[in-house]
């Protein structure tokens, strides 16, 4: 039906029940219905990767899904990575800060989400594996060097098991 249909979706650990029009994209739903604006829309046709989110731990493009398809699924967005209590950044976020892995920051949530999936499956990726995982994310500012370094640093931290999350200058 074209009219609203009820969905139940878990985003960053919070369950939401909402009525959505079938044509509503998941990206728009997250951004505007749930006010989770960190999932950015850069092209809405699946090329730029800025809207990447995790569904059951796998990165997907929120612009290429309907909200209604997320019924019953577990989603993590960039907002879900920080430690909800202390507010500490996720080790990958922290690594991007330390290595200047961003400039304008618009594409950054997508890169970080892709990195979460990568490091979960492969904690010590080679540069080629990093590039493979991030090839679907476009950045217009950095020229990718510092992004690569950020992922390397995050990987090293994950490896060492000492995810420094403090935020000093």
């Amino acid at each position: 039906m074209t009219t609203g249909q009820k969905i139940s979706v878990t985003v960053n650990g919070v369950n939401y029940e909402r009525e959505v029009e079938p044509r509503l994209s998941l990206g728009d739903f997250l951004r505007h219905d749930l006010q989770l604006g960190g999932t950015h829309l850069g092209c809405e046709h699946g090329v730029c990767g800025a809207c990447s989110i995790l569904i059951d731990g796998k990165s997907v493009r929120a612009c290429l899904m309907l909200a209604i398809q997320a019924d019953g699924l577990e989603i993590t967005t960039i907002e879900g990575l920080r430690d909800p209590q202390g507010g500490h950044l996720h080790p990958i976020q922290q690594a991007f800060v330390e290595e200047h892995g961003l400039q304008c920051g618009f594409c950054t949530p997508g890169f970080i989400i892709s990195t979460v999936e990568l490091l979960a499956g492969n904690p010590s990726p080679s540069d080629e594996q990093i590039k493979d995982a991030l090839g679907g994310n476009l950045c217009r500012c950095t020229g990718y060097e510092t992004i690569l370094r950020s992922v390397r640093l995050a990987s090293a931290r994950v490896q060492a098991g000492k995810a420094a999350a403090h935020n000093s200058a």
């Binding site: 044509r23 699946g46 990165s59 290429l64 309907l66 679907g136």
Partner: protein
């Protein structure tokens, strides 16, 4: 860039989905099947595709599997491409299919895009087309009259058109295992890594007493449908492998391409050239792997 309105259905079983397709066709409602949506969603967003109804197969968990069936690996249509990419079974027993899966788009696309969706969409730039031709993959299709199995040669009709009726659903692809000792190669050229290929080739062959045998050469991306290139295969069959022969086979393959696509990324002549080069390089790599 937002989709036009449509009705939405998410059937719980293949039977229900087929019945729904039949009903909607009877009511003259244009319905489209939504599998992973990685090709359809952009078209909906752009309002290039504007079906009256979407039938989402997301609840058909029964179509998510990669099964060892002896001679054949059976892959459920709703299996994600990344599951195919990550499959140990495919890596060991059908590495060409596994590699073709890996070459599709980027990880985020493969996580959501389905194996069946790619076959059914029949985009000429889809890697699975060449894999289907080179490996002799069969498609299992379910419709109101039951199940049928279609060979790759009969499956691809033209641009974005496969032999699937509007009331049918592709439920499984059946991929023959690669016989031990088989050499294979899959290469493509895209403007950027992960882009749709301008052209690509897949080759399998065996070496019998130092000569090529059971040579299969398939190409994709250059025109309406993937194709096997008999001219190239015949040149190799029974011959001793040599770079010059590979080049000739490449040229033969290029010459066999009808009406190559021309777009902003490459002319028809250029795409032919790519076929020539890629087929030759695939042959060389396949021979190396067979040896």
């Amino acid at each position: 860039m937002k989709p036009a309105p449509f009705d939405y259905y998410a059937p719980d079983s293949v039977e229900e989905a087929v019945a729904l397709l039949e009903r909607l066709e009877g009511e003259d409602v244009e319905a489209k099947i939504l599998a992973g949506g990685q090709s359809l969603m952009p078209m909906l967003n752009l309002r290039v595709a504007r079906p009256d109804a979407l039938i989402d197969l997301r609840k058909l968990d029964t179509l998510k599997y990669i099964r060892d069936e002896g001679e054949v690996i059976a892959i459920g249509a709703m299996t994600s491409k990344s599951d195919a990419e990550d499959s140990g079974l495919l890596k060991q027993q059908q590495p060409l299919f596994q590699h073709a899966s890996y070459l599709i788009g980027h990880r985020q696309i493969r996580n959501r895009g389905t194996v069946g969706g790619s076959f059914a969409h029949a985009d000429p730039a889809a890697e699975y087309g060449a894999a289907a031709m080179a490996l002799g993959i069969e498609m299992k299709i379910v419709g109101p009259d039951g199940e049928r199995v279609v060979a790759a040669e009969d499956f691809y009709i033209t641009f974005l058109t496969a032999d699937i009726d509007s009331t049918e659903i592709l439920t499984e692809v059946r991929v023959p295992k690669m016989a031990p000792g088989t050499g294979w190669s899959f290469q493509e050229m895209a403007r950027r890594d992960g882009d749709l290929a301008l052209a690509g080739a897949a080759v399998t062959l065996r070496l019998e007493g130092g000569n090529c045998s059971e040579v299969r050469v398939a190409v994709f991306g250059v025109n309406g449908s993937p194709a096997r290139i008999a001219e190239a295969e015949q040149l190799l069959e029974g011959s001793s492998p040599a770079d010059e022969l590979f080049r000739q086979a490449g040229k033969a393959a290029a010459a066999a391409v009808d009406e190559p696509i021309a777009d902003v990324h490459g002319s028809g002549d250029y795409r032919r050239q790519l076929i020539s080069v890629l087929v030759a390089r695939c042959l060389a790599e396949a021979v190396e792997r067979a040896a």
